[in-house]
Amino acid sequence: MAGWALRRLLQALATFAASLLIIFVIMRVAPGDPLVRLESNTPLDPAEVRVLRQRFGLDQPFTAQLGNWLGGALRGDFGTSIGHYPETVGRLLSTRLPASLILGGTVFLLNFTVGVWLGVLQARHRGERLDRWLTRGSVALYAMPAFWLGLMLIALLSLEWRIFPSAQMHDPFIAPEAPFVTRLMDVLRHLVLPAITLSAVTIAGTMRLQRTAMIQTLREDYVRAARARGLEERRVVWKHAWRNALFPVITLFGLSLPVLVTGAVFVEYVFNWPGLGGLAADAISGRDYPLLMGCAMLVTGAVILGGVITDFAQHALDPRTRPG
């Protein structure tokens, strides 16, 4: 087990390094230059451009730039943003991270509670009308573009009926020194529409997997035995069957991270949510190399970590899958 864990971690680290290298190469091979964008705002004289190139190390050969970035990153220094100069990449990322975590965390929670519950409900009513309509509904939501659903919800719930705010994470008229509960309610009100949008387009995966796993478990002899002993149906379903039908769903959570990231970019864009997606899109369009690498590092790191956590959780919860 210890050997396996070490190997898995080393493999994750190697994958991480390779991913960063791929992004670095694509970034540098793709034409376009961070200073071009700066220049389009204010004309710079060639001497200034030279100084700027030197400051950001853009005049050095490719391998030296990679080495510089890597050396800095290992010391926890991810460089200075070109587009948001003189903010450091580390600071930019840490100011945007909370919003992303709030949105992503809420969506994970929604998918895990509502999605799992609906999946179990479908399995219990397999083949009935309820099951069929829930499948149709979730599959239709899965085919929906997140940005379109977001726009529809904004049009209806914030512009027409004025129930929820349509953009941002805070109400600008609520002072930062307002009572905690007021500020919390404010963030929650802003969170409702983006979270529902992102959850709606991704929840089908959880529901379907939970349904399949639950159907298989409900067929098992021990479940029939529990029923035969006259246990309450709710107890049979949740205490006996569900515990064993949970593993595939856990696997999905690690694997669904990339989907959440991609969907989040569109949802953040539509709702003006101040998360990492917008920052990354900004960095890409401005060819802000240091910021781009910072975002890439965070996102791929999260994806790879999700895979590792999934593997470890699987082994911890299901002894049968443990190697050795």
Binding site: I22, V139, A143, A155, L159, P258, A281, L292
Partner: protein, 280 residues
Amino acid sequence: MRGSLLDLVRNALRSAAGRWGAFVLLVLVIGAIALPPLLQDPAAIRDAALGAQAPGGGHWLGTDVLNRDILARLVNGARISLAIAALATLLTATLGAGVGLVAGYSGGAVDSVLMRLVDAAMAIPRLFVLLLLVLVWDRIPPAALILVIGLTGWFATSRLVRSETLRLRQEAFVTAAEALGAPGWRVMLRHLLPNVAGPIIVTATLGIGDVILLEAGLSFLGLGIQPPTPSWGGMILESRSVMTSAPWTAIFPGMAIIATVLSANMVGEALRAALDPRIA
């Protein structure tokens, strides 16, 4: 072998979902090919000052902000969307099959290097790389869009094809072909490829919806199909300013995307169920 692929399709069409999906997809494809010449020019602007007109009169689905016929724009958008989806999916399937076959059949160092690279590439969200590549062009041509979407979508397919190839490599028919002196490329193309065609078709079909959503998303961000060429994502982008006063400008393109992605997914699911009846 051809017979078994035909069986796969026939079995998939036996399910109601598969039949419906295939029917809607077929209607969309035929409409996209046949209708455009019969409709107004989607880019023609007349009396733009009138703004968006509600459905009815000469315009079944109404007009957009610039008073252009929405039906004509939808149908022309379908042409672009479906063409991009088909070609990008073809590219994805070819690349995935190629890399998977080579990795699985060669084994050893080639296999390790290819699969480690695929692992690394899969850890990077597709949209991230797409944005990076799409922004190389100021106004990206459709051919480049196809290339970029196709190049970023083959990783999962290659992994699947590799594992199938690994399994098949031990089979007697492969050993027989090798014993008869067939070169590696021949074994891969003539003996292995037909046997992994089923899974390739299933993943390719299931990937069509992703491609359509990605293309619509990029166009919505203003980075995909460039105006005045109509695209579903672009139409939704243009509808943003009049969403409450003229909701039809946003609703119809959204419905078009959902109908296409949904039917493609339904066909994909039916094919998957036909290939492996146990998971249905």
